[in-house]
């Protein structure tokens, strides 16, 4: 590597105390212990819109919601084979996240790419939750190694394997990076601001397309999500 310095590494429970969460700083590297469940659009729709009963005790069993579908299969005897585990992009779940947090008591939202600072202020901060981003993306094999076993799969018949609610037993599972803190600050937004400062120079000499498109922004510091 170049002249890079190493980030801080921290082990964290998937039912974390408010004190443990308050310790975390943007850019810290986190490894998780305890139960994690996957929930993305399928689970959110079923639990929140169709009002199905959530088949777990939340948040006492787990306060860690992973936006993820593992590369995994269910054997004929009902056991599981899990290979790699990689997150999916979280910004698409804004419409459900507030209601989901209120209902599930989730304190750790884990996924790809974070959510907007607006989501953090509106939904994460009031619920005392933070966002952990996966690394890469994605370190699927490393995260797969951190899963001691698959405890259960719920709703796979209704939603298919990719959208099912997988309950994973994490043992020093990581790496994840702290993307938002309890105050709702975002690491991605901090980095975007630094990069944006240089963009005008990079674009120098290039010309806008002669044929415009609707709905575009020409402000390169804009976020594309949300």
């Amino acid at each position: 590597m170049g002249n890079a310095s190493k980030p801080r590494k921290i082990r964290l429970s998937t039912t974390p105390t408010p004190e443990a969460l308050a310790e975390l700083r943007l850019g810290d590297v986190v490894y998780l212990d305890g139960l994690i469940y996957t929930a993305r659009e399928g689970v959110y729709k079923r639990a929140l819109e169709d009002k199905a009963n959530i088949p777990m005790e939340l948040p006492s069993e787990s306060a860690a919601n992973f936006h993820c579908s593992p590369a995994a299969a269910i054997n004929e005897d009902g056991t599981f084979r899990l290979g790699a585990v990689t997150a999916t992009a979280s910004f698409r779940f804004t419409k459900w996240i507030g209601e989901w947090m209120a209902k599930s008591g989730a304190k750790l939202i884990i996924g790809k790419g974070g959510m907007s600072a607006k989501d953090y202020k509106e939904h994460f901060v009031p619920n005392g939750a933070i966002y952990l981003t996966t690394v890469g993306y994605g370190t699927g094999a490393l995260l797969g190694r951190g899963v001691k076993r698959v405890k259960a799969v719920h709703w796979n018949k209704e939603l298919g394997l990719a959208q099912a609610m997988w309950v994973l037993e994490a043992d020093n599972m990581g790496p994840f990076i702290v993307e938002s803190d309890l105050a709702g600050n975002s690491l991605f937004e901090r980095e975007n601001a630094k990069i944006s400062a240089n963009l005008a120079k990079v674009y120098e000499g290039t010309t806008p397309a002669v044929l415009k498109r609707f709905g575009e922004t020409d402000d390169r510091s804009d976020e594309m999500i949300g």
Binding site: T86, G138, R145, N192, I195, Y203, A209
Partner: protein, 320 residues
């Protein structure tokens, strides 16, 4: 005649290899990027990825949990015949895709766009895609599988001759900056750029430029090759690295492929083949012999031919 059972068995092995083994050319490119990266967070990310490739091989598990949308590129020599014909070939590739999805396992990503039906095997309407190419001479079939992630990093724009090279650079930067934020494109990536053709072929050219050329290869047109290097450097000068963190590793390589287009237009597409640039290739011969490799060697002189007739070069066996 190429035995169909060998085709299916080989295809299953390729699905496994693609999902688990990062191609050496991409690995070399990423190691080179990591050696000069000085952004703290970007560096950490690249280091974690290098460790991840090792873990995937050691454990024989997929390198990324999003195993993409597996697809097939098939190339045949002019004398090739397949036992059971093209219908049997397509059935074998669909079976291999389904079997490997359960076997590796891969994530069953493929669903119906409206009804979200998931067969849990990555097979459905139009899935996996199977595309074909042909080469003069020879009795062999190349099976190429590509597992590319599908949601971010790709865009198309109708540019015009008056947009020129500066317009190309602008749209290229727009794609990298827009999809690079928060690392949605899973960069550093092999960036494939399609120029010309029609809208659909422009997309196909860009995708193939990203997925079917190895890192370090250059377009056979020296002026295009020069532009490739220029775009690579431009992408790495944005100041953005892995995951959209401050850094300098966005582009492992920039590959351009062109096709003749409408005289008034200059179609452009941009594709990003991610940190898990997954491809695996095998050539199956009529005697049942199988040779595995990671270079698709898709863009031969024949594929890029410009004229009506094609004169077979003396060493066509080698170039094909």
């Amino acid at each position: 005649m190429i035995p169909i059972d060998i085709i299916q068995k080989t295809a299953e092995i390729l699905m496994d290899k693609a999902a688990i083994e990062i191609p050496q050319d991409y690995l070399d490119g990423l190691q080179a990027a990591a050696s000069v990266e000085d952004g703290d967070l970007s560096s950490f990310v690249l280091e974690a990825m290098l460790e991840n490739y090792k873990a995937a091989k050691e454990d024989r598990r997929a390198m990324c949990g999003d195993t993409g949308t597996p697809r097939w590129y098939v190339k045949m020599g002019n004398e090739t015949q397949i036992e059971g014909g093209p219908i049997a070939l397509e059935a074998a590739l669909r079976r291999a895709t389904a079997n490997a999805t359960n076997g590796v396992p891969l994530r069953p990503n493929r669903v119906h766009p409206l009804w979200r039906t998931d067969h849990d095997n990555n097979v459905g309407i139009g899935a996996p895609e199977i595309e074909y190419g042909y080469e003069p001479g020879g009795e062999w079939i190349d099976l190429i599988t590509v597992h590319k992630g599908g949601l971010f990093g790709t865009d198309y724009r109708m540019l015009f001759p008056s947009d020129g090279i500066q317009g190309i650079k602008r749209f290229y930067l727009d794609c990298l900056v827009a999809f690079g934020k928060r690392g949605l494109a899973c960069q550093p990536a092999i960036i494939g750029i399609g120029l010309g053709g029609c809208k659909d072929t422009c997309m196909v050219l860009g995708k193939r430029a990203a997925c079917l050329r190895v890192v370090g290869s250059r377009n056979s047109d020296p002026r295009i090759a020069e532009l490739e290097l220029e775009l690579k450097e431009l992408g790495n000068s944005i100041g953005m690295g892995a995951m959209g963190f401050v850094g300098k590793s966005m582009v492992i390589d920039a590959n351009i492929e062109v096709g003749y287009c409408h005289t008034g237009g200059m179609q452009m597409s941009v594709h990003a083949f991610c940190l898990s640039s997954r491809r695996a290739v095998a050539r199956v011969f009529a005697d049942g012999r199988v040779e595995y490799r990671t270079d698709p060697d898709w863009f031969t002189d024949y594929q890029r031919r410009e004229t009506v007739e094609w004169e077979m070069p003396q060493n066509h066996e080698k170039s094909a």
